[in-house]
Subunit: 494 residues, 2 copies
């Protein structure tokens, strides 16, 4: 859907980032209670928008209301999780090494370390999560929790929804007496505006969720700066799923039901959509494919997020299906209309897959490629050949795991999250979640975009040497006024 | 000193990195006790080289034996610190979120997270620390502690010293039954060998200590890879020191003694050398400069590390002194011979400094520039104008701090370590140390090159979802067999 918001110019963007920096200097000095109340209030104000927000988002993205209701709940609980993290306080990783003036040959100084914010963060929201990874989504919530100011570039595919959420944030800013520019909202469709946001002097870090091409472009813009800055792009993934023989033999029908659902959930428009299915050739595999076909056949095509995503799906799925050796296993029985996606499962041999890099590429949508391997060795070779992934999943029985230790050992090297007997779609928001992985899943595998550790992308450690106690940040003062966990002379204490 | 070691070709480097990856796969499966014993044994074997190592290093680097004796102790204690960190075990940041099958609308899965190694790490050692930041220095020690294999490119200025340390590591490999290629050692003087090491398929991360140009080149080589990898370059810094008026008035002589020592310690060849001194114009400032002059005048010039560093010092210090408005305050009385450095302090006005970017550049050696500011506002403007720093120091009394809160508030934004009433030279190795800072101090301000947190550069989190307990890494198993601190359902437990 085309929107009519005015594109920000490079000059405007530089001014926006300058204002963001000025607001950052005020915001970072607010108390923990003021900051956490502000983040909670954003959640409240989003809820206060009521059904109108859901209707607007549904109109812009074609996502159904129940899905958007769930995503809104996730977005507000994510905000409140970061507010709670601030109040608990230990996330700053306070370390204290006390002085030893008697040490020879040199006295030991007093050293104290904690995490501090990087500065203004630019967030590029995702088209497929108009709430949870967009305007007030995980990147914004974690950056505000880090005491960074935020500038969001609204995703053009849901710019009006983004404006509504921005309105909620503005209300929270006013209610909580925060600097107006602690959160700013810009529109832009062009490469120029993205480049200007990444390259503005005052931009300190960038968060992005979207395509590999887009995420890599932002990474390159940063590398071209006179002072490169952290860019965390969460990009593509084909999320391999391995079906081991014993479970295929015993549970073909159940596995097929589970995966027909996961492949087509939300018309496959998830970063964690299972795009690559792997198994060793066997009669049980064909039984699984028969069951999977029934599942896929029955799925009702639905509209994709926008025309651009739909045409990319058409183009990429047709290109994949046109490769030599690739056979369609099943498509949905109902024809796709307008910008609807046609759910599709295809089949190829391990040998052909290994020889054709195009088949390793993500087809964003309800598409999955089953690779039938001649033996376990070929399956392992395929796993080693795929690039970095957000997730990798193994479906198996206890017997399967015991007889495939080499394969199982390999999994952590491939992805940020490894799953057993589940589906990769559905990303829990908690401390243990890793929504990340080796390139090109993300531009830096050392961080996660989901869960409380997402805040670590926007902070850096600072060490205070022999600093007077009263001038130290509260987190580092002797009396531990925040009552947080700290590593003091190598012991954890509260 | 020219060495005769053969330059590794690109093809050889690709093979070296392939072997490094094969060794990594074996090494990472060794037990914690095996790995920590290996790291301890490297320290033992370095000590077993005895005085011969010190003599070789002194001959290659011109550093005196007492300094090298101290640096060797730092290197071995650093290795043992990482071995102790492994045995304690909590550094893996284990998080557990237990399942809740009753949750609606969707059951909550069991999620567990810990840090795992990135893979083979390439280390480019520093010329100025032949032990502590070279072959078995902080980058190597932290990478081995992370369970990464290591390939060191020997610094050509102390290639024979590096060979000796490599010999010690080889003995430790044999004694501890580690894979031969867990540590490899290559020689190379050319850009090509550095580029090949960064761009080899199997290289997973890079550690570098040295010049801004060198560190940035490695960063750019990585950005050009089809899959960019983490590059941590610790580069230049001018380490500003602010002298506040009350302490200048009261302690001019003592401050001058302290700083004449710090500026010329090790002929100024430290990353943390105080290259920029800042104060507001006053009679006390001139009294301080008079005292500082006496100190500098008396310093005996000594040989720099090698001819290349000496000629760079000559060139950069002469260029700085030739700038309009820059006056020599004092140089050492004894003339510099051969590749000796001539200790030098210069003076410039705040206005001139602000207008001339060349004066903001590091002059690596015993050189420091005093900037006389017309008022506090100008001093703050100067602090905001300098680029990212490893350290920033404030010298002051309690009164000084109380009357300069704006300036003091600014300091954490500039550097990785902020000091009060001390000298930046001397980097303590402990949990609270941050040897890092915003670009160009390093290529990523979110990490440190010194202290136990240096290990974080070489690891990434992995999440295990619904994984069978017996197949989990020990750090994540229910029974907590390693007895480490873990965040379990958002509570710290052991």
């Amino acid at each position: 859907m085309a929107n009519t918001f005015k594109e920000a110019s490079t000059e405007e963007i530089n001014q926006i980032m300058q204002r963001s920096h000025a607001a950052f200097e005020i915001f970072q000095k607010k108390s923990i209670e003021e900051k956490s109340t502000f983040i909670d209030t954003i959640a409240d104000e989003i809820e206060a928008l009521g059904d109108e927000l859901l209707q607007k988002a549904s109109a812009e993205t074609n996502l159904p209301i129940p899905r958007l209701t769930g995503e809104r709940a996730r977005t507000t609980s994510q905000l409140r999780m970061f507010a709670a993290m601030l109040r608990e306080g230990s996330w700053v990783e306070a370390n204290i090494d006390t002085a030893n003036p008697e040490r020879t040959p040199l006295p030991k100084p007093d050293l104290r370390k904690m995490l501090i914010p990087l500065g203004p963060v630019v967030v590029f929201g995702a088209s497929n999560f108009p709430f949870a990874y967009s305007t007030a989504g995980g990147d914004t919530a974690s950056a505000l929790a880090a005491s960074c100011s935020v500038v969001v570039k609204a995703h053009p595919a849901h710019a009006e929804t983004s404006e509504m959420v921005y309105g909620a944030i503005k209300k929270a800013i006013a209610k909580c007496n925060m600097p107006d520019d602690v959160f700013q909202h810009v529109h832009g469709n062009s490469f120029e505006s993205g480049k200007a946001l990444v390259q503005a002097d005052h931009t300190a870090a960038v968060g992005f969720t979207g395509s590999t091409a887009g995420g890599k472009a932002l990474f390159d813009y940063s590398a071209q700066r006179k002072n490169p800055i952290p860019v965390f792009s969460e990009m593509g993934s084909i999320n391999p799923v391995i079906f081991l023989p014993d479970t295929l033999q015993k549970n073909a029908a159940d596995l097929a039901t589970q995966y027909a659902g996961s492949i087509t959930l939300g018309m496959g428009q998830f970063c964690t959509n299972p795009g690559l299915l792997l198994a060793v050739e066997s009669p049980a595999l064909h039984s699984f494919l028969d069951h999977l076909s029934s599942g896929i056949e029955a799925v009702q095509p639905a509209k994709m997020l926008h025309a651009g995503i739909h045409s990319a799906y058409e183009k990429k799925s047709h290109a994949a299906l046109a490769q030599a050796g690739v056979k369609v296993v099943q498509q949905a029985a109902t024809a796709a209309q307008d910008i609807e996606a046609l759910p599709t499962v295809a089949l190829v041999s391990g040998e052909t897959f290994l020889a054709n890099p195009l088949l390793h590429e993500e087809v964003f949508g309800p598409y999955s490629l089953m690779v039938s391997c001649k033996d376990e060795q070929e399956l392992v070779t395929i796993l080693k050949s795929v690039s970095g992934q957000l997730t990798v999943t193994v479906m198996g029985t206890a017997d399967d795991l015991n007889s495939h230790t080499k394969l199982v050992d390999l999994l952590p090297s491939i992805a940020g999250r490894i799953l057993f007997n589940g589906v990769p779609t559905g990303v829990e928001v908690c401390a243990s979640m890793v929504h990340g992985g080796p390139y090109p899943a993300t531009t830096d595998s050392r961080f996660t975009a989901v869960g409380i550790n997402a805040v670590k992308r926007w902070v850096r450690p600072v060490c205070y040497q022999n600093w007077p106690d009263s001038l130290l940040p509260l987190a580092l003062q002797n009396a531990n006024p925040l009552n947080i966990w700290r590593l003091v002379d190598n012991e954890w204490k509260k």
